[in-house]
Structures are given as C-alpha cells and as structure tokens.
C-alpha cells in the first residue's frame, strides 16, 4: 500500500480541494504530468513585475495551508505604481465616457469567462462553492452596474446654475486624479468580502469616474486580486489605470496617504488608529480621504453612484451671454 505523505486539503470533502500550490504526489503518479505552479506577481503600468524588493510572504488559509509565495510590495513599488497611475490619468480621463463604459463591460465579460478559476481560488481561501459562486456573480454584475454609470452620473450630478447675471454657468464633476486604495482586508464581519467582491467594488467606481488607482490587495486573501489583474489586462483597459500591489497595510498604509502626487485615498477597515493616522498624514497635500468601513458589499448598499462622486471634483464655468434688445439674465 502506498504511503501518501501529503495532507489532503481540510476543505469540504465533496470538493476537489486540491490546490494548484500543493501538488499531490498521487496526482503526479496517476497522470504522469507535473503541474506548472503559478507565480503571483504584482500589476503595475499594464505589466506584471515582481516586487523590486524581492521579498515575499506566505498567506495561509484558516486550516494553516500555504496559499502561495506572494510579493511583499515595498514603498518603492508603490511609488512606481503612482508614477504609472499618474501617467495614465490624462489618457483615461480624456476618453469618452462611453468608451470607459465599454471597457468596464468588457471587464465583466472577461471575469465571466474566468469564473471557474476565481471560484477555485476563493475556495482555496476558505470560501464554499456556493458562496464563491455567489461572490463571483456579484462581482461580475457590479462591473456591469458601474459600466452603466460611466456616461450617466454626470447627468445626475451636474447643473446649469441660474445665476442672476447674464452668464451661462454650469457645474460638472471631474475626476480627482490618482487614488490610492487599500482594498477590504477580510471577510469578517459578514459581507466585507475582501477577496474579490470588495476589491472590485472599490475599484470600479473610481475608474468609472475617470480616475486611475493604486490598490493594495487583501493581505490574507490576495490570490483573486492578482488574477483580477489578468482580467484587467485583457479588457482593453490601458496600462496604469489600475495597479495592484500585494503586501501588508501595516507597512504601506502611511505611504499610501503621504505621497504628494496622490489626490485621494480610500480605506475600508474599522481601525480607528489607522484612520486617525491617515487623516493626519494625508493633510500634507490635502488628500480627499474616504472610509468605507461599514459597507456590506454583498447587498445593494455596496454599489451606488455616490461612490463615484467620492472621487470627483466639481468645476464651475462662466460664459457671458450677449444682451440683445434688453434680454436680461440667461439660463
């Protein structure tokens, strides 16, 4: 009788819980073919570099099983990513809103095509098949939701202002620029969905509004974030619009709020010390800080055009109206 020294996955027995990261000797013997392991890199400027620091960390699932060797991103990675994001702002915000909506829709198409892979990764990270499928479906639908907002939120949040002087005066939202985001970090409390849905839910409104971003994935559940970068990369999304780093918020959070060329920051945890630190340090260039620390991403509360407006500025323009034959006032 053959002795198997590989611990079977502690996940539910009805699933084929074999992780690609822990190849089974049994599997090798039966098929004769060795599986190629995936290298989880970070995503900057439309490319997949490793962290410049060369460091890694090993997240594990609840049963203590190793997930992968994940890049431990550094401050330099973040600075490089901000450069890429800043470089991408004028192109991305200069695109027609309709074009952005098409690209977000394509992201949904690509994610739908890779459903099985994401479900598998979620299961590796302690989800169940049913919950994982629901999470991926919601993430796809969320992308479609925001695809629909790209060329409509302006119509809701703009105005033509009836000023008392003879001027045509209008106010429109404009993207704030580069946004640094620390994605939801965990699945608890219920509905925080750090692994995929939370990540998609914070990225989509930011880029739907014409901004670019640098995102720090969930520290403990980073697999989907890296695979999501592959979805972005095949969606006609220009490089640099979304940059995804893996690593530790405890190391990187202060850099996320201190960088002088970042316009806004989004943070999703309830940690009051970190929140206080962020408000203090971001004042260096008056970043707009938003905390999504009470949102249940699983419900409709997790999507809204107001999330788009959180990273928009309002610009008001005046233009004279000629007064002909005593026509006073204007619009």
């Amino acid at each position: 009788m053959e002795k198997t020294s590989i611990k079977k996955s502690s996940l539910s027995i009805s699933e084929n819980g074999l992780s690609p990261r822990t190849p089974s000797k049994e599997k090798k013997r039966s098929s004769g073919r060795l599986e190629v392991l995936k290298t989880y890199k970070i995503y900057i400027g439309g490319q997949f570099p490793r962290t410049e620091s060369g460091r890694y960390y090993i997240p594990t699932n609840a049963a203590g099983k190793k997930l992968a060797n994940i890049c431990l991103s550094s401050r330099k990675d973040f600075r490089d990513a901000v450069l890429a994001a800043r470089g991408a702002v004028s192109g991305w915000s200069g695109r027609a809103a309709f074009n952005r909506s098409q690209i977000l829709y394509r992201m949904a198409e690509m994610l739908e095509g890779r459903k099985a892979q994401f479900i598998d990764e979620l299961i590796q990270q302690d989800s169940t098949k049913a919950k994982a499928e629901k999470e991926v479906n919601l993430a796809i639908d969320r992308l479609i939701y925001y695809a629909g907002w790209c060329d409509k939120f302006q119509q809701l949040f703009s105005s033509v202002n009836p000023v008392a002087s003879s001027h045509f005066n209008f106010s429109v939202p404009e993207p704030t620029g580069v946004v640094s985001i620390i994605a939801p970090q965990s699945d608890l409390p219920a509905g925080r969905q750090g692994s995929l849905l939370g990540l998609v839910s914070v990225i989509a409104p930011v880029i739907a509004g014409g901004n670019t971003c640098v995102v720090l994935a969930s520290e403990t559940k980073p697999l989907c974030a890296v695979t999501f970068a592959e979805v972005l990369n095949s969606s006609d999304l220009p490089g640099g619009v979304v940059n995804i780093l893996t690593g530790k918020p405890s190391e990187l959070a202060s850099w996320f709020v201190e960088h002088m060329d970042v316009n806004a920051t989004i943070y999703c945890e309830n940690n009051s010390d970190t929140q206080k630190m962020m408000r203090e340090r971001s004042a260096v260039n008056l970043k707009r800080i938003t905390f999504y620390d009470k949102i249940n991403w699983n419900t409709d509360e997790g999507q809204s055009p107001y999330f788009i407006m959180d990273t928009q500025e309002i610009k008001t323009t005046w233009h004279p109206i000629e007064n002909i034959a005593g026509a006073g006032g204007g619009y």
């Binding site: 809103a97 309709f98 909506s101 098409q102 829709y105 639908d141 479609i144 939701y145 695809a147 629909g148 907002w149 790209c150 060329d151 409509k152 119509q155 809701l156 045509f168 055009p305 233009h319 004279p320 109206i321 000629e322 007064n323 002909i324 034959a325 026509a327 204007g330 619009y331």
Partner: protein, 498 residues
C-alpha cells in the same frame, strides 16, 4: 468741365474653381458579401417568425437601381392583435417581474451583437434605404448600437433618475418609425422602452423594413424573452391598427407632422400616452463673424447629409448680408464637388432618394420655388440612369413667406435668405410652425448663448450641425412634436412617475 469718373476695378479674392479637369474618383464599391438578405420575411411575433394571416407580402426595393431586394409580410389587424397580445403577455408574466439588472443584461447583449454584425447591418441599410454606405457604416449603425448600450445601463438605476419619485413602466408600447434612419430609429424606440420595463410592438416603414428585421434576428439570438419585442411589417393601415389597438398603453411615432396630428386625434379620449417626433424646417444662421469655410461645410452637411431626409435638416439658411455673397459663392462651389451616386460606393456623398413618391414631392417643391420667384441653382453632376436621384439644389432670393421657406421638403434643397440684425434673424428663424432644431455660426461665444436662449427649437447646434449622441436628448418644440429621445430626459417617455 465734366470729370471723367475713374472706375477702380473691385478686387476679388474669390478664386473661381474649375471642376471640369477630367480628374475623377475611381469606383470604391463596398462588397455586398458581408450581408445576408432572405428572399422573404415573416412577422416577428412572440420570439418566432409567424406567417401573416392574410398570407400577403409586399416587395422592398433598392432605390438606387429599383431592383427587388426581398419581400416582407403585410400585417393586418389580426396580426397586430397577435403582436399586442404577445407583448402584453410578456409584460405581465415575464418582463415586469424580471429584476432590472437582468433586463439590462439582455439589452447589453443586443448592443454587443449590433456591434458584431455592424458591417452587415450597414450594407443592408444602404441597399434598402439609399443612404451612402459611408453614413450607414460610420454613423447609423454604431450610433444605434451605442443607443442600446446607453439605455441598458439605465435599467437598474431608475430610482436615481427622478428626484423624490419612483417609476413604473407603462406596459405595451406601439412604435412606428420612418424610413430615413431605419435601424437608428428602431434603436431609439426599442432601447429606452424595454430598459424601463415595457414591451414593444414596432412597425418599420414600408420602404425600409430590412434592418429592423435583421435586428429581430439579433433579438432572437440574444435570447430576449419572447414577446418583449415584436417587429411587424406593413404600411399605413398596419400603423393605424397599432395606434387604435385598445391594449396599447403608449404610442411612439416618428414621421411627418400631418400623420402626427392624425395620431393625436386618434388617441384623444383614450388613456394612451404619446410621444411624437415630427417634421422640421430648421434655420441655420451664419453671422458675419462666423468662420466662413467651416460654416459653409456645416450648412452643406446640414441639408445634404442623408439626402436631406432628416427631420432636423438645416433647410433654411439665414446668412448675414455682409457675408452673403461670399457664402453663397462658396455653397455653390461646394455643391459642385458633392458626389451623387451609388450608395454602395464609398465615395458617394449623396445617395438615392428613398422612393419614387418622395422624389416626386421634391420635384414638386423645386417647381413651386421657381414659380414663387426664387432663383434655383443645382449642381451640374450627372445622375445615374436608373433609380431615384436628385441633384443638390439651392434657392436664393427666397422670401420668408415662400412655401419653400415654410414647408418641409425632405430632400436636398436649401432655401437661402438674408438678414441684417440679430433681432431680425431671431424673429425670422422662430417664424415657423416647426421647432425641431436650429444652427448658429459665429465665433463669439456670448452671441451663441444669447441665440440658443432665444431660438424656439428643441436642439440647437452652435458651430456644428447634425450631431447626435445617446446621452443627448433630442426632440422638438411646437409642431415638431413633443417628448425627448436620448439621455436622462428620454426616460420620461416610457415610465409613469409616481
């Protein structure tokens, strides 16, 4: 002693252009091979193709050469009844109950499929209607696809569209569309209707049914629940049957003002809601400080785009006296360079007139114009031997009260009038029962916003013309109709705001 008057020759800086150099464009025909047209089409009711109960069909031809393209079913009152029943059933049992975000996904699918089949749709549009392939390929088809995409996004966001109000769909919408932008008009009608939760019975124009039928195939392919969209072909009688059907909640019509008034009378006393997008006689105004070359190009595009078959065509030009001579000279020169020819040739600027009857109407107005004392000028281009074609024409010395300045011709005929002051042109431009669109050409921004404020028209183009976008509301004042299509405002047409 008599002083001899010296005549100083006036310096002319207008170069006389020569068009007879013998240099001509090589033919650049688009291939028909990307398009499949069936020999015969039935009615698209309840998600399937059903034979007309009269078993009657009528031909649809290519107006560029009068060749038969296909034959389509003639729907009678019984067929209309079947279609409305299918729409009602789909509304009550399926569409009204479906979560809005799932509705949206069907419409996104349709949009993407229109993009996938873009070339085929463009070819069929040009063959069936006569418009140049450049226009159907670069404008009609992409804009139609984009319209579906835009409204798909609204389906699950209606709670934001009307402050402090919720919305409910109206039910079954009967939609009748014209022959000038067959596929685009189908998109303008169907997309907002089904996005807001209604179901639809749509009748394309009798001379241009084919792209609507191809859209029916796409709708079938998208797996849209049967009965949500029904497309039935026929002529005036079919349209009347739709308007008069008691179980239709909403009529949406784009066409002539005369028929719009008939419809409004027909539904009086019923609970039916209506939106009408009717004719126009748009004033295009060139001020002396306009960039003249761009303005001339804009005026040419305004009246000759789509052979002038555009409800918002800039068919009246008001040019400020000080630049009138220059503008008219440049218009005449530009007309000479317009290529009238086979719609399937990529060089063609002006394609075929949609039908024999429309060509007769245009000819009628040209002779009216001459009788009224206006001066006619037309390009000297050769017309193809077969098919329905008309040379781009303009009239100068037109008076404000001339019939060619007041009535919609719907052809490539421009009436040119002059003015001196801003007040004068505002009064003249507004002096029309129509009010669909207007154009203003000036370099002065403050003048633009004064003009746009005081023109009584639903769409005003400043230093541009004939621009359309799914997010931009379109519709008329006065006898050009009521209701808006496109944008946030376009949602109101298909919901009850509660």
């Amino acid at each position: 002693m008599a002083t001899k008057k010296k005549t100083v020759p006036k310096k002319s800086n207008t170069v006389k252009l020569k068009f007879d150099t013998g240099w001509s464009y090589a033919p650049a025909p688009e291939s028909r091979s990307a398009a499949t047209i069936n020999k015969q089409y039935d009615l698209f009711i309840n998600g399937e193709w059903q034979k007309p109960s009269s078993n009657k069909y009528f031909d649809t031809i290519n107006p560029a050469n009068e060749e038969k393209l296909s034959e389509v079913a003639d729907a009678n009152a019984a067929d209309v009844d079947a279609a409305v029943k299918a729409a009602r059933n789909a509304y009550e049992k399926v569409w009204k109950k479906m979560p809005a975000k799932e509705r949206a996904k069907y419409i996104f699918r349709i949009a993407r499929m229109v993009q996938e089949k873009a070339r085929e749709l463009a070819i069929i549009e040009s063959l069936d209607g006569g418009k140049p392939i450049r226009e159907s390929r670069d404008f009609d088809v992409p804009t139609a696809g984009n319209h579906f995409f835009y409204y798909a996004g609204w389906a699950d966001k209606l709670e934001y569209a009307f402050p402090n109000r919720t919305t409910e769909p109206l039910g079954v919408a009967g939609q009748i569309i014209p022959w000038n932008f067959p596929l685009l008009m189908a998109a303008w009608k169907i997309a907002p209707a089904i996005a807001t939760g209604n179901t639809v019975v749509l009748k394309p124009a009798e001379t241009t049914p084919l792209t609507a039928l191809k859209l029916a195939e796409i709708i079938q392919e998208s797996d849209l629940p049967p009965g949500v969209v029904n497309i039935i072909t026929g002529a005036g009688a079919t349209g009347a049957a739709i308007v008069n059907h008691p179980d239709v909640n909403k009529i949406a019509f784009t066409g002539s003002t005369d028929v719009g008034k008939i419809i409004q009378r027909a539904i009086a006393g019923t609970n039916k809601k209506a939106t009408l997008e009717l004719g126009g006689k748009a004033a295009n105004i060139i001020f002396e400080d306009a960039p003249i070359d761009q303005a001339v190009e804009g005026v040419i595009n305004g009246i000759y785009f789509n052979q002038g078959h555009v409800c918002c065509a800039g068919s009246r030009l008001y040019v400020q006296e000080s630049v009138a001579k220059e503008v008219i000279r440049k218009l005449k020169d530009r007309i000479e360079s317009l290529i009238v020819g086979d719609p399937m040739d990529k060089n063609t600027d002006i394609g075929a007139i949609n039908s024999r009857s429309q060509l007769d109407i245009i000819h009628k107005y040209i002779s009216i114009g001459k009788k009224e004392g206006a001066e006619m000028y037309e390009s000297s281009c050769r017309l193809p031997g077969k098919g329905f074609f008309c040379r781009p024409t303009l009239f100068t010395n037109v008076a404000q009260s001339n019939r060619i300045a007041q009535e919609e011709i719907f052809g490539p005929v421009l009436a040119v009038l002059t003015f001196r002051t801003d007040d004068e042109v505002i009064e003249k431009a507004n002096n029309s029962p129509y009010g669909l669109s207007a154009g203003v050409w000036t370099d002065k921004g403050s003048k633009i916003f004064n003009m746009t404020r005081r023109m009584r028209a639903g769409v005003i183009w400043a230093n541009t013309f004939n621009k359309f976008d799914p997010s931009s509301p379109f519709g008329g004042y006065k006898e050009s109709g009521f209701g808006r299509e496109g944008g946030l405002h376009g949602l109101s047409a298909y919901v009850n705001v509660v």
